[in-house]
Symmetry: C2
Subunit: 234 residues, 2 copies
């Protein structure tokens, strides 16, 4: 089933833009009567049928709307350092959207080497992962913020910092998190958070956690955190 | 700390081959007295010190051996279809080694489009993920086998098949798996297993499971399965 991302959808008809109309009618050879789905990123799944297979303005009649489609019983925000290798960061974004995440904030830490994120590219990855995994709620990508600003901001729910420093007590994530809760989890860069950063986060109310005993790369730790919260909510 | 993969290590000295010696002495500028670690893929971690920083035959004196280094209390074998996009399969291999896996078998299913795997390239990925995450036990990559051959082979422990077919009862992985057990988990290709394959697997003693409610790509499902078993064993 073809899925379109339609953030501005409203009413009982949706008209694809010129480029999507051409793709739909010329490349996919879709005809009037074909069923398609649309998601708006705000929790709605629209079931529709092509009414006019026009290659410049393909019209879709909306037959049914499902609100709060597969709404998760929890919310998750991951603050993660941008990574030297862009592929690895992109991979984290794609996989966490597939599994389920509400918000991603790139957090600039003292060991962060690359301090930028290509927002447009990341948002395209978010859109395609949403379509791929049929997520009606869009993951929000926030602009990069400094570590100190991130830890001193107001966050709802549990605040957690996952790190590898054996000198600071770390509680397994599964022991501190209760299903259904909102959580914010901090994941550090290659080379981890500095010890000062970890201490400051703890002073700001973040709980020091570990994701297990394996030494994980940053992007793998991000996915492990996201999947752990998902798993605990099953 | 520099880590070397040394499958043939023995005795109380280890000599790096010419290319590694050059890298170690010329590129990394390591000198006599520098501490290094070696893993042999059989569960041993060797702590050593460079005794002669020769750029053709760098000698390392072994000071200590740790047997069964971070041995997992369970074992995991994932049978997964090769994927059209090689990057995605490689990514599964890298991440599952980081998290922890004993055996990977590429399984050729009726919906498998690409039926081969580049064994040498995958083994290089396994080696570098082992070094990265300091795994003393090597993940075994088996040659590709057909689905029917895989399900009829003898497997120790629990046999599980993860699929997306809503028409067949699927139990959440967390409800069937008990920590400490050996497990074999089957993950299908893009387009999933055929219904016949799922039925045949069930007849052969595989339990039908689901990894949650998210629609995951094959490689993400592989990682989710690997991480679920890891998480349940924490």
């Amino acid at each position: 089933m073809q899925i379109f991302y339609a953030p501005d959808i409203s009413g009982n008809e949706f008209i694809l833009d010129e480029s999507e109309s051409r793709h739909c009618v010329r490349v996919l050879r879709m005809r009037a009567g074909t069923s398609v789905n649309m998601i708006d990123g705000k929790g709605n799944l629209f079931e529709g049928v092509i009414s006019t297979a026009d290659d410049k303005a393909c019209r879709i009649e909306i037959k049914r709307v499902i609100h709060n489609f597969e709404k998760r019983p929890y919310s998750l925000h991951i603050g993660i350092s941008p990574l030297k290798n862009t592929d690895r960061f992109e991979w984290f974004v794609e996989k966490s959207v597939e599994i389920g995440i509400d918000e991603i904030t790139p957090v600039i830490c003292s060991n962060t080497e690359k301090k930028t994120v290509k927002a447009e590219r990341m948002n395209n990855i978010i859109t395609s992962a949403m379509k791929q995994s049929l997520k009606a709620f869009r993951t929000r990508l926030n602009p990069p913020v400094d570590f100190l600003k991130f830890i001193s901001a107001t966050h709802n729910g549990m605040k957690l910092i996952a790190h590898c420093n054996n000198g600071i007590i770390r509680v397994p994530l599964g022991e501190v998190y209760s299903p259904g809760r909102e959580a914010v989890i901090l994941i550090g860069p290659e080379g981890d958070f500095s010890i000062d950063e970890i201490k400051l986060a703890i002073e700001s109310g973040f709980k020091s956690i570990k994701l297990g005993n394996s030494r994980l790369r940053s992007e793998t730790a991000g996915i492990a955190a996201c999947h752990s919260i998902y798993f605990l909510n099953q």
